[in-house]
Symmetry: D2
Subunit: 352 residues, 4 copies
């Protein structure tokens, strides 16, 4: 570093101006910025309380129709990433509201999306003409470039957490979007039809066509997720308690090539072992309450809260209840980091 | 062929004797045998009626203890493959009986095996120390080189269909077997523990180690299979009705590298479209009754019957009942044919 | 869009301030920015002439020692990406000079790098202690996290084009770098040893260990590349002339998980068919001269020039010589776009 | 085993007759045959001397035209596999002669084949209309179901070693063959065209279509193989000396899904370490002389000899010359054993 400062000092101002004329710049003037010893911290640990945001969402419901809003969403904005629409460096999260009798118009886009249902029973997302019926805790996928819309034919508001890979896809210069010309995509199959075909454990239909790198299973019911967590018995990793990855049943790999989703259970009083990894995560509390130490931040969370866990930050989670299980849903950019050969993980050992 | 006969005629007897001295033989004398236009028919379509075999199995139960028999099995022998222990050219099938209070000794072998439960409720197969509890219609895997034994602590006889790749593995010169030194492998995990970890649709445990190319899921419950078939709605292929493949949830591929297993449903009166393929199948009737035309044979089957469908034979299946569903379990050598680039399929079209 | 403007108009200012307090923002205010119909154009087509830059590089050689500079590089800066160190949205390119008797210190970093030799014969890059001897047109890899340094024991300056995935890796928050503690990594194997093991077409050494997702072949000699191009005979694609991808011989896939490199040949007068694709490319002229139409720009290039071809821009190339072959080296981010399921391609047909 | 004999003794003769009526047989009567502790030894180590066989081949040339013979081949018959056309349990080998002015008729078959040139310069194999020109030591592929013929327009006899997976494919019931209707397939591309496209190390053509699981490279020249062996420097495995696998450049995997081919070099006096593995090999001496200990057999070999190394037999090789390199070509069934999860290997350590 000393030599570099010397190098910078020895470079006359006129030289910069001249090289700039030819659209070049000396690496030695910016080497410390180009090749950092560790990735600079930008995204911050951050908690979004449902108790704060729900009233604001309902206010938005008074201000605007679903059609007016196209999507009535409050985006969760990481304070460390000012100017960017991002919950972590690569992930987008938002809370979306759909009121009784509303339909959000059909569109599609190259970013992959899913929704995790926070409240409301019986509304639907329609994907390529198949309605997927919502229950709290269900995970519903709207893969890249799939036509989708949402509707609420119940008499109660429905709220879900949206997760998308928008910051990543934007960084790759690959965001495309398209409205459906004819308003709403017609219903093309029975409700939840794909769940019948792809949702059974260890069984796949012969001859059922599926294209593309995303999961053919568009809905992962909470009921089944919770049963799996409770039956697993022991923690599957020391860092996460009992944790399952939602997978593409055709491959055993992540639901999307860019993002993966998880659900985990912390037993009463359970404290996970500290570690860190390249991937960033958006965590959402399905039920229970606890605390997460992420870097220097201490985030106390309750049911329906959401928080950001940036990449490469030491972190640990604790269920603060002595009697109640805590369930956390989360999603991350781990697949893209692994596919790029950039995933790393570190464990300080049991003492943390 | 004419030229070949001429070539054979022109080759003097002395020449044969001389080349044989050096352990060689003229190809032109055997070309028609080495490179056949089509594979010669050897295995035959063949039906084994449970009504015939069950009494013989029970007689075996009187003759021998399970320990004496090591495995008390009547092997299903294809009459076209005399001298070979085989139900089709590559597949072994047998019906095995275990009586109340019996335990079959622990062993392991390089051929992969599974059992499909025909009658009896509550007996178990133990795989590497995990007991898998049997119900009629369950599929239980004992992968290659996994320690396994069977026990019956109920008060009724239990019968299952064994499926193995013995003829294939023998042909490759790769059969190894080993008894467990200490009699019976100790119980190492809770009953059906792996079902909790790997049995949920679209979910996999993070951090749960699994080695080898076989499925980590050792039991595929009938209840779940039947539900999947009934929910699928429409036939998934014209040749099979509604059909699911049992898969390795880590890969979406077959349960074993050498064999795959399937379960299918024919609706009342349903008739499948005629086709043929390289893979041979052993078919087993879970419930219902019908008829299969395989090559020139017409096999009428009822619940618990088993039949052989040799490779490359035209075949079609019909549910003969006007009101009852028919359920068929089957297994085949398709994975090894596909991995060798040798799989073919032909369809004569809807008219057959 | 109209409805969206209406929605924006209906949202009172106070509402923004309130939602901002809780680190949220209304999606409907920024939807057009979050989900663009097409990716916005940022990077621009841009040509860097070697005739302009070479004298500036040599000036830098007078200003600074290699040790002072750590790496004596003029970075090629895309004028559309101001503030970013980038030749295209995801790719970094620079021209590096090493003078006789210089050694650049050993370091390693998580971004993957390669160098393509522009002038000079006999200098070396050392990767994990194996020296790779440079000749013009050679491609030399320094994969992610591999120790590497460069040295010039000849009596002439050596210049190469550096290619890295820095903008991509930075966007993923995954840049790590480390200097080698002991100055220069010791020589560990004979020069070009890996070329002997992995460089033969259609042959791989049994038992030679290799880890990681990058190619085990660290040098791709120009001599061999040129021979392949000349022997291929006919164009391999209508859009590129005769084009080869440099591949990982263990997989047939790209040299790095994030970047791929190519070499192509345009025959005298050859004009490629117009098309566009998501991937961006940095193109470098090995020899010959021609013109590329990229978007609205017309770039006339000569030997040793470099130019940027941003993603999703229509483009075509023409060899302007009536007698001379043109050879172009290039590299792109196509692997990461494909792995993320985001790659697209469009062809306006022969008329363009 | 004792219990089994007891079980056999306790089974009355009448019972056998009765179970046989229903095409079943008791497993306990044949368990030792079905599940052997180790695979039974059938194929034997065996040497075929070229000095013995060459005169017999030339005699065949006098007896028959190439057209009469279809293929003028002396098959190498393993004495342990009487009745089978096989050099090892799964592999076929033969020596084929083609005389000046002869053309062997075009045909294709589902078994995969290659030829390794033993003597003669300038004859050709044509694969799908591309002529591949033969030189001693070249490996030429005729993949499964590819049209192929051979011709000799030189004025000297040409002899090569044929390798096929016929015993394996026959065991799977998958042998198909077909003559080309119009006699000889027309020439469709320049000679050795695919070598230009796929033969360069570390480079693959973009846009060049290739289907199927076999290598797109139909010829692997000896010149290149020998150079690779000599440049590799040190033994790549203790059991083989310097050894390379011929690979599919699109995947880095074996040339065929069923068979792989290798070439190895033993330095003067070199002795390999004893080991054994499931795969069987046919070995062919390109040049040099030495001895192989395979099981209890001691095979002394010279240039152009061929020998069988059955699966699971301990073996070691020694170059008996103090000054000359020894080069061995070989092929094996290892890919199919690995794909079936049945491959095993054992090493008794350096002392053997």
């Amino acid at each position: 570093m000393k030599t570099m400062e010397a190098a910078m000092a020895k470079t006359p101002q006129a030289y910069f101006q001249e090289v700039a004329r030819y659209k070049t710049e000396p690496l030695w003037m910016r080497l410390a910025e180009v090749l950092t010893n560790e990735p600079p911290v930008r995204a911050l640990p951050c908690l979004w309380r449902y108790a704060d945001i729900r009233p604001l969402l309902l206010r938005a419901g008074e201000l605007l129709t679903a059609a007016e809003a196209e999507r009535r969403v409050l985006m969760l904005m990481n304070p460390g990433l000012e100017g960017e629409v991002a919950a972590t460096q690569t992930l987008y999260a938002g809370l979306q509201l759909i009121l009784p009798s509303e339909i959000a118009p059909t569109h599609r886009h190259s970013p992959a999306a899913f929704r995790f249902i926070v409240e409301g029973e019986g509304a639907y997302t329609s994907v390529n003409g198949e309605r997927l019926i919502m229950h709290p805790g269900d995970l519903i996928l709207t893969p890249a470039w799939a036509w989708h819309d949402h509707g609420n034919e119940t008499d109660a508001p429905t709220v879900w957490l949206d997760g998308l890979d928008v910051p990543l896809v934007k960084g790759l210069g690959a965001v495309f979007a398209q409205p459906y010309a004819a308003g709403t995509h017609p219903v093309a199959r029975p409700d939840n039809a794909s769940l019948g075909l792809y949702g059974a454990g260890g069984m796949l239909p012969l001859g059922a066509a599926h294209d593309g790198p995303h999961s053919p299973l568009p809905i992962y019911p909470w009921k089944q997720a919770r049963t799996a967590l409770e039956q697993a018995g022991a923690p599957t990793t020391p860092h996460d308690g009992v944790i399952f990855e939602y997978v593409n049943p055709l491959t055993g790999g992540p639901i999307f090539p860019t993002m993966s989703a998880y659900v985990q259970m912390l037993r009463p009083g359970e404290q996970t072992r500290r570690h860190r990894h390249m991937s960033s995560h958006v965590m959402h509390v399905v039920s229970g309450s606890g605390v997460s130490i992420i870097g220097d931040a201490r985030l106390e969370w309750r049911a329906k809260d959401t928080f950001a866990q940036p990449g490469w930050m030491w972190h640990e989670h604790r269920n603060l209840s002595a009697s109640e299980l805590a369930f956390l849903f989360s999603f991350s950019d781990r697949p893209v980091l692994e596919r790029c050969g950039l995933y790393r993980e570190e464990d300080r050992g049991p003492q943390g």
